[in-house]
């Protein structure tokens, strides 16, 4: 009955209770949403780091890490690969050549890291093949050793990404219901070639109003984008004797990950194609990337490999992508800090409401003490009232937060305007919020703890009442 009374007591003043419940609900929704966004970002960064960049474990020649020279290949390759092949619970592993190079087009040049890979095997380890942009050609294949796969960013730097309004662009935009009046204005830019997004945007700005750009700008930019697929790129490297050598590759495809930093440097060719450039009979292996079934096994596998790897270094994803690892570890701290701040703010609201409730019910509490309700029961009653008040709001908040996060988890949130900056530091511009069961359990614990702590002050105040004085109040 104490529980029943406590529950009924919170509905004595519906409006006041609803204000507190609403505050708790909104606080929890904000918490779930913000933590969901943060968790989504970190997971996406982690997935990107592992499935596009560094895998779970990498093996290099110890000296290669300090000085990325062509001759510093993985030592004891046969023994090392034999050991890797004997490991259980691997999703796969690949060998790569990895050489510092200069990429040049007739219009620009840039320093890159060129990877010589087995395209088919690589598909089991990295997801770069899934990151080919629309209209961006295709992934590498073994039958075309002269092909090179570059990123959208590298294409932009090398001026292989252009914007051009053609008849087919106009037709395509017409098909997307872009108003004819806008197409007429767009006609003034027809057949002009813009080699940077900035130049194109400037030109569009001159022709269209802000409202038109907001409404149709993205569509126009997407349709006008044209990658110069099959264009030649000259790759310059130092051969095994330190002499500069050059080779020509043709762009077969353009990829884009959420990490501009990685995209800006990584270009891919077939292992055979790269071998032709650096010469010799042997395909060089500078890097072995391993993908495990379970990320939690990294240290165990690292220990096994370290034992047989001789002068090689074995690094886990945490060492290879410390930013992602740090953010992943920081997430728990973020939960505590963020939810802690929300709970602290809510606690004051809850305490205030409960103190008001105690003040209003002084006489009744005096009566309860007079007729024989002991302090433990009075304390419990006040505590349950506080817990119910908080839990109702928290349940509503978590349910709504979960629903909103679920919807946004499917649609994603595009941080237009900050996208470039975020991708520059490795975080996706479109984030898919995620909330985990662990987070919900953690939040429930925090809510209950907040309710209990918040109840102490009002409950103690109730216990300090003198029944005779309390009964005298009006």
């Amino acid at each position: 009955m104490i529980l029943s009374i406590a529950w009924k007591n919170i509905w004595r003043n519906n409006k006041r209770s609803m204000v507190v419940i609403l505050a708790v609900t909104l606080g929890i929704i904000a918490g779930v949403l913000l933590v969901g966004i943060m968790e989504g970002w970190i997971r996406q960064r982690l997935d990107s780091a592992i499935y596009n960049e560094v895998s779970h474990i990498q093996i290099h020649n110890a000296d290669y890490i300090k000085n990325e020279e062509i001759n510093l290949t993985v030592g004891d390759l046969d023994a090392t690969t034999l050991c890797i092949a004997s490991l259980e619970d691997l999703k796969g592993w690949v060998k790569r050549a990895r050489i510092i190079a200069m990429a040049t087009t007739p219009w620009a040049n840039t320093g890159v890291m060129i990877y010589g890979v087995d395209p088919e095997k690589e598909k089991h380890i990295t997801e770069i093949y899934k990151k080919i942009v629309p209209g961006g050609g295709r992934y590498l294949d073994m039958q075309s050793p002269g092909d090179i796969l570059i990123s959208d960013k590298t294409a932009e730097i090398l001026k292989l990404k252009q914007y051009i309004i053609t008849d087919s662009t106009m037709e395509s935009l017409r098909g997307q219901n872009v108003p004819e009046s806008l197409l007429v204005k767009l006609g003034t830019l027809k057949d002009k070639r813009f080699r940077s997004p900035k130049d194109f945007k400037e030109a569009v700005k001159k022709e269209f109003s802000k409202k038109e750009i907001d409404r149709y700008g993205r569509q126009i930019t997407e349709k006008a984008l044209d990658y110069r697929i099959r264009n030649k790129i000259q790759i310059s490297i130092s051969d095994r004797d330190g002499n500069p050598i050059q080779g020509i590759f043709r762009v077969c495809g353009i990829y884009k990950t959420t990490n501009t930093g990685f995209d800006q440097t990584a270009v891919f060719v077939t292992a055979g194609g790269l071998q032709k450039l650096y010469g010799g009979d042997e395909i060089l292996t500078h890097e072995i990337a391993i993908l495990l079934e379970n990320i939690d096994d990294v240290n165990k596998v690292k220990d096994k490999l370290s034992g047989i790897s001789g002068d090689n270094t074995v690094d886990t994803w945490k060492e290879l992508a410390p930013d992602a690892a740090m953010m992943n570890d920081f997430m728990i701290l973020y939960y505590i800090i963020f939810i802690g701040i929300i709970m602290l703010a809510l606690a004051f609201g809850i305490i205030n409401t409960m103190l008001m409730a105690i003040l209003e019910r002084t006489k009744e509490l005096g009566m309860l003490m007079a007729i024989g309700m002991n302090r433990r029961r009075i304390f419990a009653m006040i505590m349950f009232e506080t817990i119910f008040l908080t839990i109702v709001g928290a349940a509503a908040g978590m349910l709504s937060g979960w629903g909103i996060t679920k919807i946004l988890g499917n649609t994603g949130i595009h941080f237009t305007g900050w996208g470039e900056g975020m991708e520059a530091i490795g975080y996706a511009a479109r984030v898919y919020p995620v909330v985990t069961v662990e987070f919900f359990i953690f939040t429930v614990i925090m809510v209950i703890a907040t309710a209990i702590v918040s109840s102490i002050w009002p409950a103690r105040k109730a216990l300090k009442l003198n029944p005779v004085e309390a009964l005298r109040t009006v």
Partner: protein, 230 residues
């Protein structure tokens, strides 16, 4: 049989600059099944005396013994349990729990006594029927008249089978009809349950029904008369 003994009881309030001698050398005995009325002008010490008898307040000196237990010797927590099992309270302004029904209000005190649900319900229904509220078991206090609320309060006070009932001006907020009705019920319970009733009042109708009338003035007993109720 004596249910309550007060010996040289004094209560002095020091909280103001002037000492207030609210109860002054009161020595009284109360017997089982007495229907006693404490009268006196406002500020004479009636309520303070009832608070002392009910263990809600402690005397500055003197002894209050209920069924062999000296209240001054009990710790605060023991006193709460003692009140629960030995004293029934009826307050001037009813003081029912507004969120509970009549039945739940009466059951509540039995819950504090850790009675089973079946025991609680049986006793509560029996008492509410006795006070004429058998058809209003599931009404909340807000849905009852003042007289009906006070009858629920009487049923609640009796529910725990206390040694005696203390009622502080129980008819002060009631109209004539409700007062008569309540007094009839209390008299009936006094006979049927051999329950001791001690109440403070200004109300002549209540005084007339009492078997014993104690008059208090300036905290002291001015007279203690046994009378034939009329």
């Amino acid at each position: 049989m004596k249910v309550l003994e007060l010996t040289h009881v004094n209560k002095i309030y020091n909280s103001t600059e002037v000492k207030v001698h609210a109860v002054n050398e009161v020595t009284l005995d109360f017997m089982e099944a007495e229907f006693t009325c404490i009268v006196g002008p406002s500020g004479s010490g009636k309520t303070t005396l009832l608070n002392l008898i009910g263990g809600l307040d402690m005397p500055t000196s003197g002894e209050i013994v209920i069924g062999g237990t000296n209240l001054s010797k009990l710790k605060s927590s023991q006193l709460i349990d003692f009140r629960l099992n030995n004293i029934g309270f009826v307050f001037q302004s009813y003081n029912l729990i507004p969120v509970l029904t009549s039945l739940e209000n009466v059951e509540f005190i039995l819950l504090l006594q850790k009675k089973t649900k079946a025991e609680r319900q049986q006793r509560a229904i029996e008492l509410l029927t006795q006070v004429g509220l058998g058809d209003k078991l599931h009404k909340r206090p807000g849905e009852l008249s003042g007289g009906e609320q006070q009858r629920v309060a009487v049923a609640r006070a009796l529910a725990s089978r206390p040694r005696f009932i203390l009622a502080d001006e129980p008819t002060a907020n009631l109209d004539t009809k409700s007062t008569e009705n309540l007094l009839e019920i209390m008299e009936k319970l006094n006979h049927e349950e051999s329950m001791t009733f001690i109440f403070s009042t200004h109300d002549a109708r209540v005084v007339n029904k009492a078997h014993r009338v104690i008059t208090i003035e300036d905290g002291g007993v001015k007279s203690d008369l046994v009378q034939q109720p009329h």
